[in-house]
């Protein structure tokens, strides 16, 4: 971050951009950070049945200094909000936030004085994942979609303008469609 943004636009830059984005999506280390029941589902995703390691994400880093992705797994209480924000602030750029479960996304069933009504009041969220709790498959789906988003990230203001002009986007195909067994009709 920094130097590459000052470069002029060109063919080489497109390739560099792809490479950079590829490396960022291929090794996206999540922060070890679970808040409530959703965290159990997040741990299951790390287990051998679902194996988040396939995407190079099994290195949950205990220190936010080495994390790329914060999975807000669970409801955020008002007391926890500053802690969450601090962890987010301690993560180095580029960083992403995945709001997992309805509680983190909107407060969910806890419509009361104690729970932050959506973690987007505290940190910017990149992708929302509904469900109470979302199944590990859903979490993986959200992560794959986040990967698709990361692949779209421009390498600087010039590239961003160009991309917006051309309307280039990676399609967010649901995993249920993308990985549907062959022969299953639509």
């Amino acid at each position: 971050m920094g130097l590459e943004e000052k470069l002029p636009n060109g063919i080489l830059l497109t390739t560099v951009e792809k490479l950079v984005n590829w490396s960022r999506k291929t090794s996206m280390w999540p922060a070890t950070f679970g808040l409530a029941c959703c965290a159990i589902e997040m741990m299951t995703t790390g287990g051998s049945r679902y194996d988040i390691a396939r995407f190079g994400m099994e290195r949950f880093s205990a220190t936010p200094r080495q994390a790329d992705l914060m999975i807000v797994a669970g409801r955020v209480s008002n007391k926890m909000a500053p802690v969450l924000r601090q962890i987010y602030d301690q993560m180095p750029e580029p960083r992403w936030v995945l709001s997992m479960g309805v509680c983190a996304s909107s407060g969910g069933m806890f419509n009361n004085y104690a729970i932050v009504q959506g973690v987007d009041h505290v940190v910017p969220v990149d992708i929302y994942l509904p469900g109470c709790p979302p199944r590990p498959e859903m979490l993986l789906d959200a992560i794959l979609k986040l990967h698709a988003k990361v692949m779209d990230e421009p390498l600087g203001p010039a590239r961003a303008a160009l991309k917006a002009e051309r309307g280039e986007r990676t399609e967010l195909i649901p995993s249920s469609v993308r990985y549907a067994p062959r022969g299953a009709g639509k």
């Binding site: 971050m1 490396s23 090794s27 995407f55 099994e58 220190t63 200094r65 080495q66 180095p92 580029p94």
Partner: protein, 448 residues
């Protein structure tokens, strides 16, 4: 295997030191560059292999999306880490904080230079050996390099200006000092047998039998202490995630963290290659294959293959241990190092020395040798009988106070029914229902 055998060999073939002595500078440079590239590639492959093997050991596939079989995973990790924001905590000591990862990254590569990968080859028309440099004190160089690596950990922990790294660094210092001793002592036996501190000579001295067979106890102690030395599971106390967050590298991001990452894996390669040199015959071909064509598979470039395979086997052991064993508690770990490994090593060195003196002594018949060994063993057994036995623990079960002095209830506590409750129950039975609820509530609120 003994000194005479080594001398006989030296007469037939030039030793590595002699071969390397008149290497032109450009050849040394080529070797250095090739070695560096090979080690870097090994590291990239090693990180991937570790994650895959760990995955298989835990019944899951492991990284398999990046490139064929996920082999580009570590490349992606390295690239991503180097492109991340570099944070330096406000309370960090700037220069030490920057220097620490650099100090950690260099020594393992230095140590690789003295590893004897193989014997005589002809490279670009120059007769040379598959080794960058053969120092008369090669073994000490490797030991020195691994100890300098500790400075990086200690300095990183101290300069981060935060408690977790400091604790990790202190642990690491204590750990490496104690395991360095065990490691150094286990090398003493090897040096006694090889009669040299040069790594190439030690590898050559094993043509009659690997030191792993001749000195099994030294070998096992070396294997244990090399895990302790490299801070790997189950001895990964300096970076124990569940206790110390990230240990000494908690505050490090980006390239600096990458350096620590590399240093750890490079250290693994170094200690494994060192074990191969000291105990597994270096580049010598393993037994059944050594019979082929009068040991032809040990000459030329073949030793590279055997050396690599043996090192890979030892590294696999590292990964296996990580998957299979839980982390030791800190005091148990220290106790194991100081009270088991070091004394065992000392006794073993004395025994090995005595055996060698006996064998080399003139005019001692084999019958006398057996008698002397028998007497020594008998004295040892009798002596061990005289040792005071472990004190039998008190019969009474004790409640552990964990040193806090916090008063805990006795284990056989039977909770007596409070008399007041009995009174209330009786009162409740006697009095009319409404009155009891009202008065009981008031009493509970005001007087309790």
């Amino acid at each position: 295997m003994t000194t005479t055998a080594v001398l006989a060999q030296a007469q037939q073939r030039l030793s590595n030191a002699e071969l390397l002595a008149d290497d032109p500078l450009w050849l040394t440079l080529i070797k250095v560059v090739v070695l560096f590239i090979v080690v870097m590639l090994t590291l990239a492959l090693l990180v991937w292999a570790e994650r895959r093997v760990l995955g298989r050991l835990q019944n899951r596939p492991g990284p398999n999306r990046a490139g064929p079989f996920g082999m580009l995973q570590s490349i992606a990790d390295a690239l991503k880490l180097s492109l991340k924001e570099d944070i330096r905590p406000a309370r960090a000591d700037k220069w030490v904080y920057i220097m620490a990862p650099i100090i950690g990254g260099i020594p393992p590569f230095l140590a690789m230079a003295v590893m004897p990968f193989g014997g005589e080859v002809t490279m670009f028309g120059v007769q040379t050996a598959l080794q960058v440099v053969d120092l008369p004190v090669g073994v000490l160089v490797v030991l020195a390099c691994s100890s300098v690596g500790v400075y990086s950990i200690v300095l990183a922990g101290w300069s981060s200006g935060s408690p977790y790294p400091l604790l990790g660094a202190l642990r690491s210092a204590a750990q490496v000092i104690s395991y360095e001793i065990a490691m150094g002592l286990s090398i003493v036996g090897v040096v006694l047998f090889a009669g040299s501190l040069s790594t190439a000579d030690i590898a050559a001295a094993q043509s009659g039998g690997w030191f792993a067979w001749i000195l099994p106890i030294s070998f096992v102690i070396y294997l244990i202490s090399m895990v302790g030395e490299t801070n790997r599971a189950p001895f990964d106390l300096p970076e124990a995630e569940s206790e110390l967050v990230g240990g000494f590298h908690t505050e490090y991001t980006s390239l600096k963290f990458l350096m620590f990452f590399l240093a750890e894996y490079a250290n693994m390669v170094v200690v494994s290659a060192f074990a191969t040199t000291l105990f597994l015959g270096g580049g010598a071909v393993p037994w059944p294959l050594s019979a082929i064509a009068d040991n032809a598979l040990s000459s030329g470039y073949w030793p590279l293959l055997w050396f690599g395979l043996k090192t890979a086997l030892l590294i696999f052991g590292f990964i296996w241990a990580r998957a299979a064993l839980p982390r030791l508690r800190y005091d148990q770990f220290m106790k194991f190092g100081w009270k088991v490994l070091v004394p065992l090593n000392l006794v073993w060195i004395v025994a090995v020395t005595a055996l060698r003196v006996l064998r080399n002594a003139e005019g001692v018949t084999s019958g006398q040798r057996i008698v002397i060994i028998g007497v020594a063993v008998a004295v040892l057994v009798l002596g061990s009988l005289l040792l005071p036995g472990r004190q039998v623990a008190d019969e009474e079960p004790q409640v552990p106070l964990a040193g806090s002095g916090y008063p805990l209830p006795p284990l056989d506590l039977t909770v007596p029914t409070p008399p007041r409750q009995r009174r209330t129950v009786r009162a409740r039975a006697e009095q009319p229902r409404e009155a009891v609820t009202a008065s009981g509530k008031e009493a509970g609120d005001g007087n309790a």
